[in-house]
Symmetry: C2
Subunit: 127 residues, 2 copies
DNA sequence: TCAACTGTTATAATACAAATAGAACAGTAA
DNA sequence: TTACTGTTCTATTTGTATTATAACAGTTGA
């Protein structure tokens, strides 16, 4: 899967990486068991530091999206983490300010739901 | 409206403030024309620095949610900003990683939409 | 007029996170 | 052995978040 970073963005580089990899899993472009590039090769390809890639991989490992095989390096987990109560709470806390502002800006409930539905399907079928 | 901050949170204080005020507008607890506490009184009440509150107010002013009256201080805008194309794009960029992870965690499209709908109505009617 | 309040600005210091840099270690594969 | 894997260590630079003090211009009410 093709991975890139935007040095101008205010989103931290390691967050850009984790976001892209998680979207890759969601879309099926990254299948369970598949290997990710090594920290050294990916950092070299992107022109960024090794430790930045390592931090992204460490977060993905921490959250249960990847596991480390001494042989194959970093591979996508077969048993991906599921949406438990704690996750749903944190998701709500992240959605709340976004939905609040959309209400202020007179986005209707239907428009918001259509946007979410459209994104959901676009990500899921973007393999 | 009651405003509070969580010093333990990893969300910046000024972001906590802007989020709460925007949610207050969305819910109707803060009506257009209504005044916000002065930077000095609010910072004193919350036990934080004046500049932190001032930064939050400056962002709200920048985004068009409040205006400055030399007499009344900081008041909620009558003509609130609307959801233009630029806003929709930025909203999509913020929703995308959240939805991607929810797909990874096997949250169904219906569950996600129900959560968004529930939040939308809860915020809107929470006055 | 005077005192008390408004937002605003300037300067400085502290603390922390993000990113980079160079180096080394333990384990594994060809 | 050589070359690769993730991991860890120390150090530096940069930028943001937060606090601290101070001052300014304008407004309000006594």
């Amino acid at each position: 899967m093709l991975i890139s970073v935007n040095l101008q963005s205010d989103v931290p580089l390691y967050t850009q990486l984790t976001n892209q990899i998680i979207e890759g899993i969601a879309s099926g472009r990254l299948a369970p068991g598949e290997s990710l590039p090594s920290v050294r090769s990916l950092s070299s390809d992107l022109g960024i530091n090794m430790h930045t890639v390592n931090k992204a991989y460490a977060i993905l490992k921490q959250d249960g999206f990847v596991e480390i095989h001494r042989q194959k390096g970093v591979v996508i987990q077969h048993d991906l983490p599921v949406a438990d109560a704690a996750y749903r709470t944190s998701l709500e806390e992240k959605l709340r300010p976004l939905i609040s502002e959309s209400i202020c800006r007179k986005l209707s409930e239907e428009e918001l739901l259509n946007l979410c539905r459209s994104l959901f399907r676009q990500i899921q079928t973007d393999s």
